[in-house]
Amino acid sequence: MSTATARRPRGRRPATWETWVIGAGMVLLVLYCLAPFYWMFVSSLKGPAEITVNNLWPDDPTLVNYTGVFGGSNDFGYAVRNSLVIAVSTTVLAMVIAVFSGYALARLRFRGRNLVLALVLACSMFPGVAIVTPLYQLFSDWGWIDEYQAMVLPNISFALPLAIFVLTTFFREMPWELEEAARVDGCGPVGAFARVILPLAAPGVATTSLLVFFAAWNEYLISSVVSITLASNPVTVAIAKFAGDTEFQQPFGSQMAAGVVVTLPLVVLVLLFQRRIVKGLSAGSFR
């Protein structure tokens, strides 16, 4: 770029070679990201006769895979329900706990504050496998195998470090004078926080909830150990089991249809909240 074009306002650039390179790069980037999604969707519409033909659009699109997923031995509807219950309860509980902790870490002065932060960070580094066996033992003793709480509780703990860091970052930037003003006006500490600060922090809390929800929806390792039957399998475990059932002829069509069902809510959330998610991700990384 010459010095003249560098100062030209955006949007009125002439079509230089650079414009073309960037444009081509963007097209490639979108293709790279979306191609597997497209292939999953197209494959899910192909019947048994067409599934092994690599055509880009089925000659005879059919919903037979979708009816197969929700009927028969798969009963994917259960898995969707399980995942919804697990992910929503994880999000609600983790956010309540994280708001408490984030407030304390951002706002209160006490000894050991940095120690707590370091502990939380250390927890976020732990490999999940380091805890899976003892947890399995513990949950068996408590009769929690195949129960939702056996997945919700670990999910909460996995989500807490990130949630606390993102929330602490958000809380630090709050105009706390307003809280003090509210307290001068006669609000109690809880009232001041709930009426003044929480509404202002709502965007941050919403962003963090989204990240927690995604993490819980995607969890596989712990669930694959503590959830045995279809009654409690979340979608990730159920979809992987599809693969294991029939070793020699995998029901790829049904798997792709199940994949579409799992992905659809995520696509909607990403389209609605993309700006927030990106903000939350970068806030979490520059703690």
Partner: protein, 317 residues
Amino acid sequence: MTAPDTASAPPPGARTPRPRRRAGGERATERRLAALLLAPMLAALGLVVAYPVASAVYRSFFDDPIGGEPAFIGLRNYADALFGYGSEGFWAALGNTAVFTVVTVVVETLLGLVMALVMHRAFRGRGIVRASVLLPWALPTAVSAVIWGWMLQPDGIVNALIGAEVVWGGSEWPAKWSIIFAEVWKTAPFVALLILAGLQTIPPHLYEAAAIDGASAWRRFTSITLPLAKPAIVVAVLFRTLDALRMYDLPQILTGGANNTETLSMLVVRAATSELKQGYGGALSTITFLFVFLCAFLLIRTIGANVFAGIREEGTR
């Protein structure tokens, strides 16, 4: 580990005008409130992280009898894993984990940097690109593994596109590459987002000044873009390395560990759940998390030190 930079960050109350000297009673209430607010978090992390880890470490010093009480055997489980009957599987898994981590992190970082540069210079369609880049990140790894398993079938779309007959699940290196492809596909866009956030903090007037001084595009890239984006790149590398060292979902579903693709995490879960060797599994998991911590420590010491020092300086300003 980031304790240094949090320690030197301004105390949370510093920005707001508060009375400096306060009554001792108020301090005590503040402490009590903090303890109360932190209690649920500490309880959750204690039950699900601290207790299981402690229990696994404790159990790793005992043997795995078929029946009866486990007996204390000191470090024998560790010796078995590192040098004894389990050593072959252990070193293979460690090697695989290392290969997957190094290859995927290097490729993801380079690819992510290119993607971030493209997105940074984009003038139209930013929204579409941002949404597309988020989708692989949002997709559950389990589903991504299933999609790639399908695309990498012998008569699947990947072979059709490259015009070859690779049996991806049939031998060691094709199986390893399929895991690497699937992992890079899903996480390079995430790396790109982190690096993009770093690029966006670079003030544009630096480029204008450099351009006026006649610096070439390459020179501007190496003298402005790279050094100023370095903190973001380092954070991305750190995140990705820690994640890759724990890789489980993808190889477990894609290959099940066949053809020498077993990672450390898979080895631990196999020993602990299907072989029911709690003591031995405990030793393996202890070795795994010590290994992950060691890697994190070394990474921060080597590439992270000056970045975190830089953040600290900014924090005290």
